[in-house]
Amino acid sequence: MAAENHFDDLSEKAARKDLGYYLRAIFFGRPARLVVLLLFIALILIPVIFVISTSFKIPLEIRLGGSIFPQQGVVTINWTNAFENVPLFKFLTNSTFVAVVSTILALLVAVPATYSIIRFKTGGWFLPSWILGTYVMPPIVVSVPIFALVKAVGLQDQLMGITLVHAMANIPIAVWLIDSYVRTIPRELEHAAWIDGYSKFDTLLKVVLPLIRPGVMAAGVICMILSWNEFLFALILTYSVRSNTFPIGISRFIGEHGMQFGEMSAAALAGMIPIYILVFFTSRSLVEGLTRGGVKG
């Protein structure tokens, strides 16, 4: 609506029909917008469609390359092979454990930390900028020290090791997402709770937390997605089926007996499903949580 009205406003200028008018009409007119949108959607969806169709192709056809869609018939052999050759369920349970537990740990630290940083200026200017700094830094920079640390406490190739690292790595993002929610809460509410006899911690639990719950939920979902898809730390900290998360698991197993693209596609899709379901059911609060910071500053 707004865009159309905007166009009406230009009617006076449009009367002159200069070059700008034609350029706008071509690039911002309704059909043009539709084409651009479809292009972007296709760009994002084509790889996914490709993976789906590959997982149902006859293995020989995959090797020959060719069209996106199966020409020689649809088979489920890649799927059955994937589940037979690759311990997919083990990887899925590993990844689920890591994602859920690391997210809970990250939130347990991030919620009180964010609250404390904003309300009580904990860490002055240094802590917030340091947190942002760790978020900006490429993870590969700390991969060696992290490996050394995890090994020093004997958690290498164990689920708890990768879980702790994911929790730590996700804290900055969680702080950053929860930040804008905490800022929207009037301080008077906390003052009232203190006077009503609640400690600062009880105030956080009983008054602040219920009010920032959408933000905490969004942060939690983001943390889970990031943990689920995380590759680098999982690669250096997990060596065996015992602790391999999904992305590492499939990348290693499939490689072991030649590049089985069909099996890989099937396995990758199986790993995508849980996280898609999660996002599907939480997309509303997720979108709200991610856009909030931009609107309310």
Binding site: P186, E188, L189, H191, A192, A193, W194, I195, D196, G197, Y198, S199, K200, D202, K206, V207, P210, L211
Partner: protein, 367 residues
Amino acid sequence: MAKLVLRNVTKTFGKTVALKDVNLTVKDGEFFVLLGASGAGKSTTINVIAGLEIPDQGQVFIDEGDVTHAFPQDRNIAAAFESYALYPHFTVFQNLMFPLEAPRRKRTYTKESRVERVKEVAELLGISELMDRYPRELSGGQKQRVALGRTLVRRPKAYLLDEPIAHLDAKLRHRMRSELKKIQQTLGITTLYATPDQLEALSMGDTVAVLNQGVVEQIGTPDDIYYRPVNQYVASFVGDPPMNIFNVDYQGKEAVVECDTPYRVPILPADQSMLAEKMGSCQLRIGVRPKDIRIVPAGDPQAHTNAEVHLIDTLGQTSIVVTKIKNTEIRVKIDSDFLPKLHSTVGLVFDNERFYYFDAGTQLRIG
């Protein structure tokens, strides 16, 4: 029930001085009113006692204990703020229950006694029907009553009420004023009440403190504040409409009011001797309340001066008549039955028994 004491409290926010060397004592069981315009430091005073602000200098005592640096939750006071501060995720009932359910009060109240207390307060404030509503579903006046209710459910050492009935409609405000006073008298709980409304202050307070830009101008009974203001600020702040104050040239038996067309007003013998004793050599000012001026027909021998009727503001039974002598305004409060004609010239008679005398230099009242 407790005594509240502020000793030499100073609080600044950046360059703004919110409180400047404030000394206050609220006696046990007293209804103490902080009266002042917005920005006078009323809320800061309340926040300092509540523990939401730590004074830069000075001390705060509740009873004999120094609580200057104590946390709000350890002070056992209850407060209602002008901004309501209702918990948006709780219903009215839950809001009222919240102070009673604090972990530290788990032992004080049983579940039944809490509910009973909440019902009692809701009844009193006329919010029983709103118990299941959320704050966003309430009007401003209803929110304010819930906020007040959340304060009154407890029996703390003191109630701190920051303009708690400012957003109620006139009729309800009037009722709440007497209700609050009654509750306070029944419970005997020390109450500190901030308001910019002098009528509230004078009608409710046992003691009133007039604040002006972070300074306590005067502390006294409502009578003291109204009849014996210590300085020009208190005299003109209290009383509606404000007192008329003129620069005069004092000439013994009479004073010449300085304006475009100077006129003379006689001074009572008693005042003459008082002034002779206390005035010294200062520039004198005379203050006279609008109700202590009478309007007579122009040219009446009683009249001290003539003035033009500039504006008439009728408030039902009484009216405020703003008269002008050239550019000097004089406000007169009279019975609406005897209104002069607009823009007509009338005579003004000043009641010299009700004069207030001020030192123009120090602004202090003489006498």
